[in-house]
Every structure is written in C-alpha cells, then in structure tokens.
C-alpha cells in the first residue's frame, strides 16, 4: 500500500535541505518526494507542517539482555526507541555474558526479531569476554550479522593484542569501535580534573587522557589500516588529533554522546548520580568545542549512549554509583537544544543522527532518497514539554533530564513504512 506524507517539512541530510514538500512511500521504501501538489494515494498522512526526517540511527545502545533484563529488555528498549524517533539501534556487546560468539549473537538477533518494533544491528565484542587478551571470531560474527566490533568502555591495554585484532579485522573489512582513553589515568575516576572535581573531592581524570588514548589508537590505525570509529570524543583537546587523522587520510570517524553536547560537569551539582556518565562530563569550553565540531562535520555521529541503570546502582555515594544514562527517548529533544540555540541546522543535525552513522555501518537507511527504506520520524521541533522520568518507556529511569524543560516532540515513527509509534 502506498502512503503519501503531505504538507511536511522535509529534512534531508544528504541534500542538506529543509523545505516544505511531500513524500511517497510504498512497499517499505521511499518512492518519491516533491514540492508541488502531492500525488493521489490510498492513504494520506497530513503532517501539518511538522518535520519529516530519516529515522535516527543510534550507535551504542545498551540493551541489558542477556544478563540484566530487569534494567532493560529488547521490548522496552524498542518501545523507547520508537517513542524517541530512533529506527535503528546499534547495540553494544557489554552484556552479561558479553556478545563475543556467534551463538550469543544469534540470541540477540532472535530476541530483536521477536520483541523490538525498531531495527536492531548488533555490535560484537572485539576480544573474548571483553578481557583484552584474545580476539573474537571476527569472521563468524560478521557472517552472523555483527556490524562493528568493540569492547565498549574496556580499553584494550595490550597493544600487541589490539594490533593483531585490528589487522585481522582489516582483512575482513570490519569496523572497530574503540573508547579513546588512557586506562591508567582514568582508573577509578568519577569526574574530570579541575576545580569542580577538587571541590567535590572526587577522584578525577585529566581531559588529556582522552587524547592520549586517541593518539595511541591512531598509531595503531596507521600501522594496521583498520576502519576505526571512536565511540565518544568529549574533549576539546582531542579534536585537533581527530582533524589530523582525517586530514592524513585515515579511515577514521568519531561520535559524541548527546550528554556531552548538552551538559557540563557543573550539572552534577551536589552529587547527582544521574549525571554520572563515562567518560565524565567535561568543562563548558569542551562542550562548546564539541558542538562546533559537530556543526563542522569533524565529529560525525551523535548518539544517546543509552545505558540503563536501576535505582539501586545509582542511589549510592557518587564514586560508587554506576555510570551511564538512558537516552533513547531524550536524544531528539536534547539535540533540538543545539538547533534552538542556533548552533546547528536541522539537516546538519540529521547528518550526525542518521546519515553518517548509517553510512559508516554500510546501511541503506538514514536518507530520504528514492529506494531508501521508509524509516522515518515525524516531529514538532518546537513543542515544549517538561520531562518526567517516570513517563519514559525504558525500564530504567536514569535520565539527567528529569524535570528539564525541553522542546521537540516525536509525533510518529515508521520503520520500513510501518508505523511503530503514534505520539499524536
């Protein structure tokens, strides 16, 4: 059945345009778009001037299956994603046990098929058990559908192991996602070194530890030629190194979490553990530099780094509390802060939310082009609301935006032309 979305404001990150128009979908794909009168069709969805954009492709979502299903399941994460305009979740392998064999990956794809209303593309661990000692069966895991290989926030400290894994991954064209961080300096840290950490008496890591980790990784990328993606670049001082690596023609991309783009270390206030993320929140100067880097395209990808934690893991003294924040449902409205602040345009934002992550993983989504999958999000960029964490669809409610005034409401989400969320 063909559907036309009429009276829409089309956000096309590929063309870099933001213009009124219509879009025709059918058979799960995008058939056509235009600016004149919309074609006659079996079904018409009147967008009433709201924004229609490619669905968000979110790299680095943690779904706590297997192991910690009380924190998040494929079902709850999928519903949260749909409500947040995320049509593809690229999931992390840092589960219990880690996703490091084709058999465990098979479990993930089965559960995803059964339970999630949105697409799931799983990542696999780079080393067995994420222990940094022995590479996983990269070939088998690729065949089983792994889109990238990462040990999450476990930095592989043994460079011999890492260089071998990278060399092997390169021969298969696999993408390696790393967490650039010097593990020695960051051990036990709960905050970024500086006045705030010192006044609060928290163990801290210097911002430069990120560049040290990144520089080491860049040397290994030069050595091995692997395709490399940095999960999060969060400090101003790592940006010149990223710029250099790209200028030198390395196959390197980088992401940033929405929390590091919209919050800074002072938001932690009096030990508010929902603001404890990894790496820790940075200085305001870092945040501003990151926003600029996203606008210029130096940073390729914005993601939610969705990390569900139950109340028990967060209601502890700050140092002992677990890291991470949920973000699937707040990614879009939080990112709209950057648009409303005039720092970035909607097509630029959607390049980082949909087009770039999709391209990097070799997916066909993230675009409004003819023939692309009809993965779409319809949203009102201006609609204001106050976030209530208990209204979130995630099982875990650990969001730093509880009680925050936000703008940007998802009105509908479609995956392959099927509506998976109705926010009207």
């Amino acid at each position: 059945m063909r559907t036309v979305f009429s009276n829409a404001r089309l956000i096309d990150p590929e063309a870099g345009t933001d213009a009124p128009g219509w879009m025709l979908t059918g058979g799960g794909t995008i058939l056509d778009q235009g600016r004149d009168a919309p074609p006659d069709c079996d079904r018409v969805i009147d967008c009433k001037g709201a924004c229609l954009a490619p669905g968000i492709v979110d790299i680095g979502v943690k779904i706590c299956e297997p192991g910690e299903r009380h924190k998040e399941s494929f079902r709850s994460a999928g519903l949260a994603a749909a409500a947040g305009g995320v049509t593809t979740m690229v999931t992390r392998p840092d589960t219990l046990p880690a996703i490091d064999t084709p058999e465990v990956l098979e479990f993930v794809t089965r559960r995803a098929r059964e339970a999630s209303p949105v697409r799931i593309k799983p990542m696999a661990a780079l080393t067995k058990g994420r222990e940094g000692r022995e590479m996983v069966e990269i070939g088998f895991l690729l065949d089983a559908g792994a889109v990238a290989f990462t040990d999450g926030d476990h930095v592989v400290t043994d460079t011999k192991v890492l260089s071998r894994a990278m060399t092997y991954a390169r021969s298969l064209g696999a993408l390696v996602m790393a967490h650039p961080q010097d593990p020695g300096l960051s051990g036990g840290a709960a905050a970024t070194s500086g006045k705030f950490a010192s006044l609060r008496g928290l163990p801290s890591v210097p911002a430069l530890a990120e560049r040290m980790g990144f520089d080491r990784d860049m040397a290994l990328v030069e050595l091995t030629g692997v395709r490399y993606h940095a999960d999060q670049i969060t400090t101003a001082r790592a940006l010149p190194a990223l710029d250099r690596a790209k200028a030198n023609g390395r196959d390197v991309t980088a992401g940033v979490s929405i929390h590091h783009l919209t919050l800074n270390e002072f938001d932690v206030g009096d030990y508010r553990t929902f603001f404890k993320v990894k790496p820790p929140l940075r200085a305001e100067t870092d945040r501003l530099a990151l926003v600029e880097a996203v606008a210029s395209g130096l940073i390729d990808v914005i993601s939610s780094m969705h990390t569900p934690q139950d109340e028990e893991s967060k209601r502890l003294p700050y140092e002992e509390a677990a890291s991470g924040a949920v973000g699937l449902e707040t990614l879009l409205p939080a990112a709209m802060r950057l648009v409303h602040a005039g720092a970035i345009s909607l097509p630029q934002l959607w390049r980082a939310l949909a087009l770039n992550p999709s391209r990097r993983l070799g997916l066909s989504t993230g675009r409004l082009a003819r023939g692309a999958p009809a993965d779409l999000v319809l949203f009102d960029p201006d609609a204001p609301f106050v976030l209530d964490r208990f209204a979130l669809k995630s099982k875990s409610k650990n969001t730093p935006f509880d009680g925050a005034r936000m703008q940007g409401r998802v009105l509908g989400t479609w995956v392959a032309g099927t509506r998976v969320y109705d926010g009207d």
Binding site: G188, S193, G194, K195, F196, A197, S198, L199, R200, G201, L202, S204, P206, D270, Y271, E312, R315, L316, P317, Y318, E319, E320
Partner: protein
C-alpha cells in the same frame, strides 16, 4: 541574622554570618567546658547517633563529649564492623536508623558526597564529620575559632595550608571558610598533592615552603594521608620531610608571631618536627582539640533549635 541551616554538610552552604554565629556561641561553650560543672541541658531529650563508617578516635570522642555535655543521649555506632560488611547499602542503613527516631546524626564516611546522600533520606539534623575528600566542616570551624582566639580576628590574615592538600577534606573546608571570611590563603605542597584546578579556587599555590611561608600569620600543617594514597605521590617520607616538613628553620620565614596548627593525628618527623609541635609558644594544636568540643556543642545546639522549631511548626519531613 539568624542561623537557618537544617544540616551541617559543608562550609560551602554557610554564609559568613553563619560562621560568626557558630563561633560566638562556641565561645560560651569554651567557658562552660572550663567551668566546674561541665553541663547544660539544651539537648536534653534528644538522641544523638554517631555513625562512623571510617575509623576515628578524636573526632568521634569530641562529638560524643560535646553531646553529653549538652545533655543528649549519645550512641556510637561503629559502622565498619556492622551491617555494611553484610552488604547493606547506605540508604538501607539510613532508613533503618531513621526508624529509631534520632534527632542528631553525626556521620563520617570514606566517600565524598555520602553524607549529602544520607541527609536526603533521614528525618533529622545531619552533621558531616568528614566525607571522603570533600568536606569536614566542624574541623574548619574549630580551626577558625582557634585562629580567632589566637590572632584576635578571623579576617585579613595570611594562612598557609601545607602538605597533602589533594587527599584532605580539612583543606577543602578550610579553603572555603577562610575565603568566606576574607583571608589570604596559600597552598603549599608537592604538585602531586595539590588538587587539579586549585589555582581557580581563589588561592595562591606554592611548591616551596620558604616562599609560601613568607609573611604568613598562620601555618596549618596537614597529615600525609598514606591510607588514601594508591602509590607514588611522593618519592619517600624522608625527602618529603626535607622539603615540606615543618621545622624551626622553615617556620622562621613566617611572621614572628605565626601560629602552627595541625588537625591531627600527627606524623612526627614526616610533616612536622616533634619539638615544634610541642612548643607552647607557637603550636596551638592542643587548643584546636579543646575548641573542637566547643564548636561541636555550638553546631549541635543551633541545629537542634532549628529541628525543634520545625517540629513545633508541624513539619513532617526534615530535608
């Protein structure tokens, strides 16, 4: 001006007026403690629980004596030996305790921010007796009282805080308090023991004792916190003593009438020369201990007044 605070979690939340009110009241308790009958009834009928998740002799006994002199029913809970070892979380411990209806809760905890967290969950006044590397407000207040009595004022003084600043909650509370009272604060120590961002805290930072002590009115030595160090902050204790230990030679750079302080317990021969520590003309270390009891009496008295007022006004929860 009135003292309105419900808890004493840190110096950060106090105004200069709050500090004055506490110190003025503490003066009266110094007199009481020196008198023949060391007793008042202002805390009569109230229950004070000392919860120490970290070993302490002097602070705990100081709070205990302070409470007893004011007529409170005082109970000590040695938390290291208790349910925490059985895996109970801090919140659960707090709720259990809250059910016993304490009025004053004195808490020491090895983690920064733990006392703030606890204060949100109990229905009584909470006093921070030291949380991690964050704050130790009664120590800063007793230091303030000691300085005020020795120097006749607590403003426009040059105070040098020396040694292991990075691991010290005493230093943080003192930096805040001395800054609020408009004093000039210097931090002296090896760069590895100076916290990051110290230069942004309104203090001057030195890594040379002689330079840093030049013209100081007050020299505050800190204990080298070996138990909090995960290795390699200083090359050796003897080199540390040579460069940063306080002896008569280094002290000569401070003003002639400069006083020497130490929050205790001291490592003689590591951060301070034993003879100097015992020199009654320079060292006010024993005075600090005495002022500690008086300041804690004053803090508990003031918090108890606010607690009683809130309860009389029928407030159900006390946050």
């Amino acid at each position: 001006m009135e003292f309105r605070a419900r808890h004493l979690l840190g110096i950060e939340h106090l105004s200069p007026w709050d500090v004055r009110i506490i110190l003025d009241l503490a003066e009266t308790y110094v007199d009481l403690s020196r008198g023949a009958t060391k007793h008042a009834d202002v805390l009569a009928g109230l229950t004070q629980i000392n919860m120490f998740f970290e070993a302490s002799t002097r602070t705990q006994s100081s709070f205990e004596i302070a409470g007893k002199r004011l007529g409170a029913d005082v109970m000590n809970m040695a938390m290291q030996a208790s349910s925490i070892k059985k895996g109970e979380t801090l919140i659960d411990t707090a709720l259990t305790l809250n059910a016993m209806h304490p009025d004053l809760l004195v808490v020491r905890h090895p983690h920064s921010g733990a006392v703030d967290l606890l204060a949100q969950k109990v229905n009584c006044a909470v006093l921070n007796a030291g949380d991690g590397r964050h704050e130790h407000p009664t120590q800063a207040l007793l230091d303030g009282l000691t300085i005020r009595r020795a120097k006749g004022r607590l403003q426009r003084l040059t105070v040098a805080i020396c040694g292991d600043i990075a691991h010290s909650r005493v230093a943080r509370s003192n930096i805040l308090l001395l800054g609020k009272m408009e004093n000039r604060v210097r931090l002296i120590g090896p760069p590895t023991l100076i916290p990051s961002g110290a230069a942004d805290m309104g203090v001057e930072v030195y890594d040379d004792m002689k330079e840093g002590l030049e013209g100081a009115d007050v020299v505050m030595m800190l204990r080298l916190q070996k138990e909090r160090m995960d290795g390699g902050f200083i090359p050796s204790e003897r080199e540390y003593y040579h460069r940063f230990g306080l002896d008569a030679e280094k002290l000569a750079y401070a003003k002639d009438d400069a006083i020497v302080m130490h929050p205790g317990p001291m490592n003689r021969g590591v951060e301070i020369d034993g003879t100097l520590a015992d020199d009654i003309n320079r060292s006010v270390i024993q005075d600090q201990v005495e002022m500690g009891v008086a300041v804690r009496m004053a803090c508990m008295d003031l918090l108890a007044r606010n607690l009683r007022a809130a309860r009389a006004a029928g407030e159900g929860t006390y946050v």
